[in-house]
Symmetry: D2
Subunit: 287 residues, 4 copies
Amino acid sequence: MDRVEDIYGDGIGYVHLLDKMGDEFTPAEDARTSTNKGRLGPEKDAALQERLTKDAHTSPFEGVVVKVEIMTPLFVLRELDRHRTVTKVSDEEEMELVTPEEAGRKWFARNEMSGRYVQMPNAYYHPLVVRAQSKTNKQGGGQEVVDPAIQAEFLQAGLEMTQQARALYDWAVEQGIEKGLARIYNTQNQYTKIRLTGSLKNFLDLLYLRLPGVVLWECRRVAEALEQILQAHFPSPVEQWRRNVYDGVRLSRTEKQALSRLLEVCSYDRLDVDEATIQQVLAKLKG
Amino acid sequence: MDRVEDIYGDGIGYVHLLDKMGDEFTPAEDARTSTNKGRLGPEKDAALQERLTKDAHTSPFEGVVVKVEIMTPLFVLRELDRHRTVTKVSDEEEMELVTPEEAGRKWFARNEMSGRYVQMPNAYYHPLVVRAQSKTNKQGGGQEVVDPAIQAEFLQAGLEMTQQARALYDWAVEQGIEKGLARIYNTQNQYTKIRLTGSLKNFLDLLYLRLPGVVLWECRRVAEALEQILQAHFPSPVEQWRRNVYDGVRLSRTEKQALSRLLEVCSYDRLDVDEATIQQVLAKLKG
Amino acid sequence: MDRVEDIYGDGIGYVHLLDKMGDEFTPAEDARTSTNKGRLGPEKDAALQERLTKDAHTSPFEGVVVKVEIMTPLFVLRELDRHRTVTKVSDEEEMELVTPEEAGRKWFARNEMSGRYVQMPNAYYHPLVVRAQSKTNKQGGGQEVVDPAIQAEFLQAGLEMTQQARALYDWAVEQGIEKGLARIYNTQNQYTKIRLTGSLKNFLDLLYLRLPGVVLWECRRVAEALEQILQAHFPSPVEQWRRNVYDGVRLSRTEKQALSRLLEVCSYDRLDVDEATIQQVLAKLKG
Amino acid sequence: MDRVEDIYGDGIGYVHLLDKMGDEFTPAEDARTSTNKGRLGPEKDAALQERLTKDAHTSPFEGVVVKVEIMTPLFVLRELDRHRTVTKVSDEEEMELVTPEEAGRKWFARNEMSGRYVQMPNAYYHPLVVRAQSKTNKQGGGQEVVDPAIQAEFLQAGLEMTQQARALYDWAVEQGIEKGLARIYNTQNQYTKIRLTGSLKNFLDLLYLRLPGVVLWECRRVAEALEQILQAHFPSPVEQWRRNVYDGVRLSRTEKQALSRLLEVCSYDRLDVDEATIQQVLAKLKG
């Protein structure tokens, strides 16, 4: 699983693994620098790595490096770099935050295709399905689609807009207008291609922010393809990250205390629950 | 609260605030760049910042900057830079990990006092109390002290060692030995002084790793002094970080599921617990 | 000089200083942490800082922090983040490189305005003058403008394209299309607003890449406004950086050797040249 | 050349390559992401990479990653992390600066051996030759050695000091003193072992600061071993970096102008010099 092709169904977008350094148990080997022991077999290596993941001891996951190439539209690349979230702060205030979190900034290296100097690639993104704005979720991410007539009208207008923008660009370049200016009326659905190099930790941090359902679908598709590739090459740490971090939950002090109190006073049939795990949670809540 | 003096009881170690940029509601102002609204008063600003903290949307906390000066022994500075933890991986394997987590690496700027070229400061750390190795906690951090006779012997030998090392260094410099070599037999309890500049986010990340009880006491004292200073100047975000992050807990997928199941089947008297919070937790566990 | 307004002549673009930490002699104070001496007056502080600048000892310039707000079109923001350069490698190969150099990546913090959730700002950039593609400089940056008729046609078409794109976006939002999709046909001349926090060193690194004449004019205007602001608040280090780094030149080993040889064998009238500086250069070339 | 052994002549210190990602022409391949052309053969790839190096377009050199293991004493590790330089600012002021430049801070990952929890390695550094403090160079780095009698006395005292410190540590651990405290009287010549992961660019930046003759010999030995390893695996870019950056020189604006003027007025026999290079320099000085 080195290549995830056609991530948008238009035959253009993709995520490819280009190179990697290290394997799924390299973090354990690096961590054992401190004790000089190296690898101790998959079972013990996995046990150590699970402990590191649980304790947010992330440094050993920075010694594994991954390089990928991503073909995606410009507006998606901007979402990958940034973190965009809508938050209901209170009844009066709703916020959309747009910030490039560290996960998006600390790529080790990045190079991007350019269409200004060489022949600009004639590749633009048009959605196969036009999603409706979710009513409950301000960030979109919904499953509903708009009325077929509206969808058709939007896509038709978008296609024409794209073609006109392209024609204007081609004409402007031909007329000798500076290429950096000629392109400013291009549409934001234009494809671009980047190479990214980062550590396993960097990539998992990125997935944490870009995999959730509230993320723009086109951006999430990149994250999902990245996870497939990471999963294929580093199954043990990726699955542990899923179990202990991504699919987990963080409770605040107040929630911790309320839950701790409840566990003391509630009654239940031990056969109905995973009692061992409950005891483990109780220890955590008290600790 | 700009100066926390005498953090070790020997009249030497300290943490001083030198400068800062921004105040406790700057993160809200920066976050609202996306909506162009600026500040909306302490209550709304605090509400927004709590939301950002809960969602791990940390970028706005990077726009607040703090510069401090720290006087601490060399072996403590090494602990501040690195993350050292002892972990019982399994019955067979116990690990001590020593890695400089990002929290220690990404200081914006750092300058350190040097005693090689100028007159080396005659300042060394000797513990007031000699702690015993904890039996349950391999990292030390225990409360027990060793037998008074052993304590006296250790401190006496340590003091002599330090003085001899110092005398050897002074003699070697006088004899014209290269200063970079003359000092290699110095002891690791020698004091040094650094200036650090970092964002509020950087400092909170550092506190996350250095405040816990398992951390070496001399290192924890620096973290505690830093928290006092941050608390005095940025009370709202520091307290929110405490409530929602530091004093909270992270549950894994398995723990989440076990707990979710238990909450469905258990019975309890609603008056005995903080029911509103429990409902909020339940929503989180399901979400 | 906290606000440089109207950087493009369209009344919209600007660069504003929002906050700062430290002044023009803070780097000297921080550097002297090592000797415990603090500030020694403007003359000595400037002398030390010049030495640091010449030796590329940049760490003390990271203890001064600057926060700015920039209003600029989307395509300019992308240029600020990336480094785009055209290079004639050989007669056969010409390269355009597009990479986000560290200078663009290591901002301490960044927040951006968003027009997806709130009312999208109706602000678009149209050039006052349409520059012609330079024949000698593939990156553009030329002084020539295109024929008035072509300029008029381009701007007219661009204005219409922008208005159509805006109308399509407004209509799409009204029809309930997900806002993240509705905007993909927008043109790249759309304005956006960001806040950046970084160290003096970060900003000077950015100026190094963005001030040169080959940089896209709209991007260079941001760099020029930044330099004006930095110059006003940190005149000494900014001028020293200009003299010793930006306005200087780097010679390769071969060039160094050829020049060194020439200086040995050539003859000239000492009154015709700055002999003291020549001797200083000769020492450097030999060293 | 994956292992440079015995870098100090005591049979202990070393630098080993553990892993790498990419080869000597990967930077060209990554750079051509922008034009979609990939590799074009060693000659063209080298030509492009030389251009990138000359233009300080460093991003493509971040896509090559190297992991090494270093065995070195504690006082050397501290020098590797920091940048320590003595500068004569004026007749009155001489400065020693001690700062961790970015080159030392931005390691992708680092793990260190620990001797606190496991059996502490009984390995300490004693210099084979005791260098004298240079009179002209305050940072040491001189070639002269001290008088044999002084050398013998220093090494004898150092050896005893080290053994006493070790004995005190062993005794303290045995008596149940917390290991974190037991070790504080250890000497700074104690060996430690680290693993570092970084990009080719990171490592070259480090060499720039740590290879020069003024650097402490023990620290320079690590840099020299690193260069040997990098040279063996990435010969083309490392040699280009040497020629164009490390072995080159930077001239200030004033120096540029004085030299430019001199080249206009001086007379020389063209056969005596490398005229082609001189013309190239002249173009640079004017440009």
